[in-house]
């Protein structure tokens, strides 16, 4: 009799404790896996976001800036904010897949300085305007995609090296960027967009060591809007 009772109690424990625990753990694991899949999909969607941003002033002396956005990804992209220098403008615009849209009439405080424009998407991506930086001077707006100085740094394929490229030019224009040459690469490139016609001076440094640059200065104007500058860092 007691054996039967013991067996019944054991079976009762199995059905009321062990099997429910097993089922519960399975359910929780399924929920976790679903969340992992959801977040992986979210990250993949985020990676796929690709938009082209072009910011432009409405007229030569306008304090209104429009931002044209071309969505080049297979997903719709929601723009949540526009940054112009350190000022943010909350906007909510959904650009359909492969579609386009314009964020209009962003009023800015006109000052004689460069304006850097970027947009933020709801998926957490930041895209800078191709027309950065826009300049406002006494003569009105200038800048855009016209003038470019491309700095090619030649180096040995070995090792990772860090170079600092500095370009100075008219109206106290200064641009500094760090370029990384990775192992197995024998050169690296810095593309510097400049805005005004005039002489620009290029320096390249590796730490405190100055790298010889040819030519050291270039004259940018409408007849020659793009220049190539070479720095020889081969040891």
């Amino acid at each position: 009799m007691s054996t039967i009772l013991g067996m019944l109690i054991f079976i009762g424990m199995l059905f009321t404790c062990v099997i429910p625990l097993f089922l519960y753990v399975n359910q929780v694991n399924t929920f976790y896996n679903r969340k992992v899949t959801e977040m992986t999909q979210f990250d993949q969607d985020r990676e796929k976001e690709q938009i082209d941003v072009y910011a432009y002033p409405l007229s030569q002396s306008s304090n209104e800036v429009n931002v044209y956005i071309k969505n080049r990804s297979p997903l719709s992209v929601k723009i949540v904010r526009v940054w112009i220098n350190d000022d943010k403008f909350d906007r909510s615009i959904e650009i359909p897949a492969m579609g386009e849209g314009t964020i209009e009439s962003i009023i800015i405080q006109l000052e004689t300085k460069p304006f850097y424009i970027k947009v933020m998407t709801a998926r957490g991506n930041t895209f800078s305007s191709y027309t950065n930086p826009l300049y406002y001077t006494e003569n009105g707006w200038s800048g855009g995609m016209g003038f470019v100085i491309q700095v090619v740094i030649l180096a040995n394929p070995e090792a990772t090296r860090f170079f600092k490229v500095k370009v100075t030019g008219p109206s106290s224009f200064t641009y500094e960027t760090q370029v990384v040459k990775r192992p197995h690469e024998s050169s690296c490139l810095a593309v510097v967009t400049v805005t005004l016609v005039g002489w620009y001076y290029v320096t390249v440094n590796e730490g405190l060591i100055s790298i010889p640059v040819t030519p050291e200065s270039v004259y940018v104007d409408f007849s020659e809007p793009s220049h190539w500058v070479y720095a020889n860092a081969v040891k």
Binding site: G6, I9, V28, F31, M39, G124
Partner: protein
């Protein structure tokens, strides 16, 4: 023959009583243990889900030269609310480890007072490390214009 002892009936009753007592105690213990196990397991998984659901980024950085303070805008685009600490290194050092809360979908500005490093004349390059209280990290660099 005069035999003394328990009759088989009483022995059976006593054995059954003992089995029932021990069995119910074991059942009760197992039930409590499995319920606690379920609770702690689901709590652990829920915490783990919150860890993998965190997504945030350094959206914008600006530097106030007068107040020597770095303004860091953080955007929480994940699925859960977060709390973050910010550490700055490079030409200057600073931190804001006050567990700034950021609700999901929100943009929050966090100010980090900076102290220039020894021998540094002007603050130019900074490395920003944002750490959530769930131990997720986001890094950014900033070149002072």
């Amino acid at each position: 023959m005069d035999k003394k002892g328990l009759s088989p009936v009483i022995a059976s009753i006593l054995l059954c009583a003992a089995t029932l007592t021990v069995g119910i105690a074991a059942w009760s213990f197992t039930f409590t243990a499995t319920v606690n196990l379920e609770k702690s397991y689901s709590k652990g998984v829920r915490e783990q889900i919150e860890v993998i659901s965190e997504r945030f980024t350094v959206e914008h950085v600006s530097y106030d030269k007068v107040a020597t303070t770095l303004h860091v805008w953080l955007y929480n685009f994940g699925k859960v609310d977060i709390e973050v600490d910010i550490y700055v290194e490079g030409d200057a050092k600073g931190q804001n480890a006050t567990a700034t809360p950021i609700a999901y979908g929100e943009l929050v500005r966090v100010d980090v007072p900076l102290t220039a490093g020894e021998g540094v004349l002007s603050i130019i390059e900074l490395a920003i490390k944002v750490m959530s209280r769930r131990q997720n990290f986001v890094y950014a660099t900033y070149v002072v214009p």
